[in-house]
Amino acid sequence: MLSNIFSLSFLVSLLAGTIRLATPILIPALGQIYTQRAGILNLSVEGTMLMGAISGFTVACATGSLWLGLLTGIVVGMLFSLIMAWLSITVRANQVIAGIGLNILGAGFAAYLYRVIFGIRSLPAQIDSFQQINIPVLSDLPIIGQIFIQHNILVYLAFLLVPLTWFVIEKTTFGLKIKAVGEHPKAADSKGISVYRIRYSAVLIGGAYAGMGGAFMTIAYMNSFTESVIGGRGYISVAVVIFARFLPSRAMWGALLFGLASALQLRLQALGAAIPSQLLLMLPYLATIAALIFASKKAEFPSAYTLPYSRLER
């Protein structure tokens, strides 16, 4: 057993699995960096991902186009998060309550849609998912090739989003405006920035990323939809953002940590480790929560975090 764990092939497959399993955390987490930096805590990422998962899967099934499925996931994610934006920004509802409510709505609605569209069947509907890329020579490189160059295209896209997100937040006017409305919305308002518009866009971007993360689960990671396909990844990604102190690079490490714990857990189960599987299943979540506890104390939240803005309030 121990010799199995420390073998090279085990390590290689563990690290490859880490990257693959980190992806569906990383994508929504990057989106939530926009949202949370703008001062909105969107807890409905889980429900948004489920909506992205079912819609992406359905369209991919119907059209046979995975890319169209992905696009649908993104659009539906944005539409779903529009409700969150409306509740938290326009209605000025409590963000925690709104988020929890939307999660329940998203989970129920996704399951309902699946049954309406696909009916009840003994075997789940399946599609041909995104396949791993195959670059001659590179993909065949020992170790490096196996760990890094045998994933599907969306994994690379996700990791490309890390520097892109950093660039947008730190180097563009849009990023500066996002930080401003999260930090001091009144100041932003007095400088002619529409707090509502920036916050809406920040929530919608978060929704797009969450929808993409959800679609990733059904059309790239797996090839079918189940009601538990997201399995708490939405919540974890919200937590990762805080753990990452709202920085894209740190979010990537947070996602990788979760990915590592998940990959390890899967492999230990496969090896038949003498630990109850229920405990093993907890591992990724425990690891993430532990990391959060250590890291979040130092997190400096945007000053207007979870606070709705109204110009008239004095």
Binding site: T173, L176, K179, K191
Partner: protein
């Protein structure tokens, strides 16, 4: 008409049916400094927020440079050459100066930030007016005075010809204020027009060309300032009656040392040292005024004295008994009363009823509670008594604390803290944000407590107040005690200490 930078006519603005501005007329001549005088809640800030496009007036017209304009947003105001420096700075603290500036203008690089270019231009303007602002420092690293300069610099950089300044000197030391007035004069020379919102008469007399007085949302009048205009006249316009600066006589001389602390060291919320070896004695029947610019450790000191914050080291005795780092309930039982700096977050539960706020410290104690049940009869009786005695203007005791004006909110706290006949009273900024009448009332009550043998520490950024009511004046700077001065000390000397200039004072022999 030609020389009017701003002309506002018949401006009316209501919030929830309450008129904050009621047919107010206001004008500003080009190249002049115009004071806007009034008590808190008189509608000064509302009027200026309308001019700056943050609010839209319900009625009335605004003319800028002789043309009627519809100022629908701050962007419009800025494009008309109007800039505003708010009382609470409109700066995002984690961002740099130049980032804050770039928020308000279009980048010349499209969607990318033009940080370098903006920073260079900003530095140039800063040099021109000798402001000494580094475009790359983060806002939280700057002192309050520096932040204010950043705000003014930003407005000028954005092309402001008319500058609205909302209570700009409230946060400055006397020396900083003088420097600030020099800048204002220089800007006037440059042909800029300035509106100075204030409730300080001294400033009006010192620097203003013309003054408009508001009271209860209505315009009382506009006056050209010349030596014939007296402070009394202005006060009368502002308050609507003569304010009597009468204090209860001092009936008792200070007695034994009541509260004493030695070498207190404590950290602030960020874990940085807030107090460094701070020592002070407060005697019975004595008011010690603690002067200092905000954020130099005053809040932390008050929290240590009431058990809300643990000191890292040091000693503290209350009536000879060691009491350092005891729990808040210990201090409450020892009749240590506390008027906190921020009545909205620490002083009151805003969404609680007035009655409940009044007995906040006595919940679960007889006679307000018996066998775990609230005794509403007893509480109601106490409320009625406190309401009369402290002249609290409220509809009923079940009203939420939030709905009261600042002055009446403070009276609730006073009633709660002073009615127990405290042995020690810690008052942190007790009159901040209150109008003249309410402030006088609060100071009176503090003197009364002193005459009832309480040892009183009053923390205030308002030197006038410190000078008015203190038996001794202690000055704090950067967590250190800079010195203790007797009653009637020189303002300038206190100001020097407030800025941390201990040696110079010592050398000059003052």
């Amino acid at each position: 008409m030609e020389n009017m930078a701003v002309k506002m006519q018949g401006i009316t603005k209501a919030f929830n049916g309450v008129k904050a501005n009621d047919h107010v007329d206001f004008y500003l001549e080009k190249g002049s400094i115009h004071g806007l005088l009034g008590e808190n809640g008189a509608g000064k800030t509302t009027l200026m927020n309308i001019l700056y496009g943050l609010y839209q007036q319900d009625e009335g017209t605004i003319m800028i440079n002789g043309k009627i304009e519809d100022i629908s947003s701050p962007v419009k105001a800025i494009s008309l050459g109007i800039g505003m420096v708010h009382q609470h700075f409109m700066l995002a603290r984690p961002l740099t100066v130049v980032e804050n500036v770039m928020l308000g203008r279009k980048s010349r690089r499209g969607i990318l930030l033009d940080t370098k270019q903006t920073a260079q231009e900003l530095a140039a303007v800063s040099d021109k007016y000798k402001m000494g602002v580094d475009p790359y420092s983060k806002i939280w690293q700057l002192s309050v005075g520096e932040q204010q300069r950043v705000e003014i610099l930003t407005a000028i950089y954005m092309g402001a010809q008319t500058l609205i300044l909302d209570e700009p000197t409230a946060v400055l030391t006397p020396q900083e204020t003088e420097l600030f007035f020099d800048t204002l004069r220089e800007m006037r020379e440059d042909g800029k027009s300035i509106i100075l919102i204030t409730h300080k008469l001294e400033e009006i007399v010192e620097i203003v060309d013309e003054v408009t007085v508001l009271r209860d949302g209505k315009m009382i009048g506009t006056k050209k300032m010349d030596p014939s205009v007296t402070k009394g006249e202005l006060t009368n316009m502002m308050v609507g009656r003569d304010v009597l600066f009468n204090f209860p006589e001092i009936t008792k001389q200070p007695g034994e040392v009541k509260l004493s602390f030695r070498n207190i060291c404590v950290r602030n919320d960020k874990g940085l040292p807030a107090l460094k070896d701070f020592s002070l004695d407060i005697r019975e029947s004595e008011v010690v005024g603690l002067a200092g610019v905000d954020g130099n450790g005053q809040k932390e000191l008050c929290e240590v004295l009431t058990g809300l914050r643990k000191a890292d080291s040091g000693e503290m005795t209350l009536g000879g008994e060691p009491v350092i780092n005891k729990e808040p309930i210990f201090f409450i039982n020892k009749k240590v009363s506390y008027i906190p700096e921020d009545r909205h977050t620490t002083g009151l539960a805003l969404d609680w009823s007035l009655k409940r706020n009044l007995i906040f410290k006595s919940i679960g104690k007889a006679p307000y509670s018996r066998n775990g049940l609230m005794q509403s009869k007893c509480i109601n009786a106490y409320w009625e008594k406190a309401k009369d005695e402290y002249q609290i203007k409220a509809i009923c005791g079940d009203e939420k604390a939030r709905s009261l004006s600042g002055g009446n909110q403070q009276k609730i706290i006073l009633a709660r803290e002073i009615d127990v006949e405290p042995e020690v009273l810690i008052a942190d900024q007790p009159t901040r944000g209150l109008d003249v009448g309410a402030a006088e009332y609060v100071r009176n009550k503090i003197i009364e407590a002193r005459n009832n043998s309480a040892a009183v520490l009053v923390v205030s950024a308002d030197l006038e107040e410190i000078l008015q009511i203190s038996d001794r004046i202690a000055v704090i700077y950067d967590g250190e005690l800079m010195g203790i001065l007797p009653r009637g000390a020189d303002t300038y000397e206190i100001g020097e200490l407030m800025m941390g200039k201990r040696e110079e004072v010592a050398v000059s022999g003052k």
